[in-house]
């Protein structure tokens, strides 16, 4: 649709016309601001904890595990220099020989969610798959953080209570 609009604008005398082909889906998936009726609803990116342990492919599992435990966590995201998510170390990954490279021990291609996914949707998925948290990445795969299911459930509950209170006030 936007290519036709761009050509039409040129035919109307506009001299510098640009077509953002990936469109608003791409913009929202990057966690960038928006406006409109749905702009304020809680989303996965709002609750993602940004401070999560990360490591590189070549780091040794033993060193990483030590760091992860010291941070009070149980998982580590394996990223490259651009913070693109390549894998995850957790659970049985820690049972590898401590000298093993993260690349050998990690689970590749973990499921990730975009920052703009509504909380209702992501909580439903996590419940169905009995998952306690979700990795949040931008549409280009860059790590945003980790969203705990518990925090999302709490936020949804609070939003529900606030909505009920607002309706009661109106009534």
């Amino acid at each position: 649709m936007s290519p036709r609009a761009a050509w039409r604008l040129e035919s109307l005398g506009f001299t510098r016309v640009f077509d953002y082909v990936a469109g608003k889906q791409d913009w929202f998936a990057a966690g960038l601001p928006s406006e409109g009726k749905l702009a304020g609803r809680p989303r996965a990116g709002d609750l993602a904890q940004r401070e999560v342990p990360t490591c590189g492919l070549a780091e040794r599992v033993g060193d990483v595990h030590e760091r992860v435990r010291a941070a009070g966590r149980d998982a580590c995201v394996v990223v490259n220099a651009e913070r693109i998510v390549l894998g995850v170390l957790r659970g049985k990954a820690w049972e590898h020989d401590p000298r093993t490279a993260a690349e050998q021990a990690m689970r590749s291609g973990p499921s990730t969610f975009r920052p703009n996914v509504p909380l209702e949707e992501i909580v439903g998925y996590l419940r169905e798959h009995e998952m306690a948290s979700a990795w949040i990445t931008t549409s280009d795969g860059r790590l945003v953080g980790l969203m705990p299911r518990e925090a999302a459930e709490r936020a949804l509950h609070e939003a529900h209570l606030a909505g009920a209170a607002a309706r009661a006030t109106k009534g």
């Binding site: 109307l12 640009f18 469109g23 990057a30 601001p33 406006e35």
Partner: protein, 67 residues
């Protein structure tokens, strides 16, 4: 000829004063749109509806996605 651009270029152009135009139907615009964007649905794109835009300033158009 219109130029295809990516997100970073959109941000750069908008910061430099470009005009953003969403060409989806108005109800989709009302639900959610890029900050500062104007709604001119493709079906209503004509000389009259674009008169509020400045012809010499860059214009960035977008819809939902590349599909």
């Amino acid at each position: 000829m219109p130029s295809e651009i990516q997100r970073d270029e959109v941000r750069r152009l908008v910061e430099g004063g470009a005009q953003l135009v969403e060409v989806l139907p108005a109800d989709q615009y009302e639900e959610e749109h890029l900050p500062g964007a104007t709604s001119i649905p493709l079906t209503e794109l004509n000389r009259e509806t674009t008169s509020r835009l400045e012809r010499q300033r860059p214009v960035v158009v977008y819809c939902h996605d590349a599909q």
